[in-house]
Amino acid sequence: MIGHCMRWGPGGGTAGSPRIRKNVAATVALLAGTAAANASDAALALEVEHVVTRVLALDGDPAYGEYLGGACVTCHQASGAASGIPPIRGLPVDYAVQAMVEYKLGARPNPVMQMMTARLSDEEIAALAVYIAGLED
């Protein structure tokens, strides 16, 4: 099953990917408090913004979102009830997209969420955001 241990530091994610290298660099630099830290931080923020803009331009497929959302509701209850895991029901589309992109690019920490979003395409993020927003209906 898990043939290899994923070593996750403050950045999380799959060892060896550009994202984790960038993450670790950003985090280490952040801790060191150098000017370079601000530059990598800013670069990551810009990348997040770029991807979010790209995703928001798409029309999310609600049926695909509902299928993908099956993987979310085991933790984030569809009813909106919450106990130790934040509710996502009815989150606005742009907020949900922002959160998912930040997890995907490693700008937001949490290894479960980084794993869940790591392989999501732009279309999948768009579809999920539409589904999540629609849960309140």
Binding site: M1, I2, G3, H4, C5, M6, R7, W8, G12, T14, A63, Y64, E66, Y67, L68, G70, A71, V73, T74, C75, H76, Q77, A78, S79, A81, A82, S83, G84, I85, P111, V112, Q114, M115, M116, A118, R119
Partner: protein
């Protein structure tokens, strides 16, 4: 199409499908007999309950769903260790089927499915009732292979519980644990691969140790006799045992114990090549295979578990049958409630597509296993999976690390509580 009752579809007769004149898998619904397409699910646990709900919910009444389950309630094996440890009560891990029936119109048939006629496409119950299907989903969990531990038997489980199927066995184990006095030992025989819930035995060791420690015991030991040379999250458990229960837990791998020779549950002994271990409580977890209905249906392989198509959870031996959860051979996915729930959704989607022409998306699966080592000290391992070259393969994952701080371990435990509430709502509400 001709199929033998227990064998595979022959290639030659499969080719005659179109002209055979018998009920065809490929005919669109409007050419079939005048009834709604029928999905029958055997097993109302983590996999079966999820599959029943998702087929009924997503087909919006277009599919007739029957859930065959012998019990009126389901006690989750996941979190049953927390009940053993005193963190949850039994009712909080036991759930009913009322919502599935009333909200989704699922027909619950309470009884034991005994046989499957794959030609007639029917399930026969212990009371003789016959339940016809267009698609059959088996989620029967595991059966315990008592004889895999010399000297163990189904009767012996009343004295030395396995508690590897949650319910009365779990309550029995809890009662035996709570009755121990200081100086009395526990001997666990851990199971060989493949088995339900890889970290489960070691979370159980942790929970039993927690109970003994919280009663102030200083002279009791927990011996773990393992047929495996390593186990899931091993470094995390060993770090936790050293930290929270120093000197209490002794784990013996096969290189050290040299093989389990026999158990004597009346005497409370486990004899190995190395030594004979004695305990007032024996927790014996034998080897496992798919629940009996799988072999009865002819869809179990030589391993005792059921081969499936990685893109759909469809049996490789019968196109009208799906197998999910612990009974299936799901590649890299561990046998867990989370996996069963994940696989159920792919199978449900595929059955709906078969029967109503609805859209089927590419299969994606996931699993996360949380384990509690002591109060507020939780760890986890998880992964995403996708079909790759005919197998369900891990594509992304994470695992807790040794040396994590207390705040993170506490957050991990609290996350598991949120997950438990979420997944039981997903399955039973």
């Amino acid at each position: 199409m001709s199929t033998t009752r227990t064998g595979t579809i022959s290639r030659r007769s499969f080719g005659l499908l179109a002209g055979a004149g018998v009920a065809s898998l490929a005919l669109p619904t409007y050419l079939r007999a005048q009834h709604k397409p029928r999905v029958v699910i055997v097993g109302g646990g983590a996999g079966g309950a999820t599959a029943a709900k998702y087929v009924a919910k997503d087909s919006k009444g277009a599919i007739d769903v029957t859930l065959i389950e012998d019990s009126d309630t389901f006690t989750t094996c996941f979190f049953s260790n927390l009940y053993l440890g005193g963190y949850r009560d039994f009712n909080s891990i036991t759930h009913g089927y009322d919502a599935l029936v009333s909200t989704y119109g699922i027909r619950k048939v309470t009884g034991m499915a005994m046989a499957v006629d794959r030609v007639a496409k029917t399930v026969t119950m212990a009371d003789g009732a016959v339940v016809p299907y267009d698609r059959l989903l088996l989620s029967p969990g595991i059966d315990i292979i008592y004889g895999s531990v010399p000297g163990y038997s189904e009767d012996a489980a009343e004295t030395a519980p396995h508690a590897w199927k949650a319910g009365p066995q779990t309550e029995l184990l809890k009662a035996r644990l709570d009755a121990l006095t200081d100086g009395q030992n526990i001997v666990m025989i851990a199971p060989p691969n493949p088995y339900r819930c890889p970290p489960g035995p070691y979370e159980r060791v942790s929970m039993m140790a927690h109970v003994l420690k919280s009663k102030g015991f200083t002279n009791s030991k927990i011996f773990v006799i393992d047929p495996k040379d390593k186990f899931s999250k091993q470094s995390l458990f060993q770090e936790g045992w050293d930290k929270h229960y120093p000197g209490m837990v002794e784990w013996y791998g096969p290189d050290v114990h040299g093989g389990i020779k026999s158990v004597d549950v009346a005497a409370g002994t486990v004899e190995t090549d190395l030594d004979t271990f004695e305990g007032a409580l024996l927790n014996i977890i034998p080897a496992q295979r798919a629940g009996a209905i799988a072999a009865a249906a002819g869809v179990a392989g030589d391993s005792g578990f059921c081969p499936i198509d990685a893109t759909s959870m469809r049996s490789t031996m019968d196109e009208a049958i799906f197998i999910i959860g612990d009974a299936s051979m799901a590649g890299d996915m561990p046998k867990s409630g989370f996996s069963a729930n994940s696989q159920a959704k792919v199978a449900a989607m595929t059955m709906r597509a078969d029967l109503t022409g609805s859209k089927a998306f590419p299969a994606k699966y996931s699993n996360t296993c949380w384990s509690l080592i002591d109060t507020d000290d939780g760890v986890k391992v998880g992964a995403q999976y996708e079909p790759k070259e005919g197998k369900i393969a891990s594509v992304e994952g994470f695992i807790s690390q040794t040396g994590e701080d207390a705040a993170l371990r506490k957050a991990t435990y609290e996350e598991s509580i949120g997950w438990y509430d979420g997944i039981v709502a997903d399955m039973f509400s």
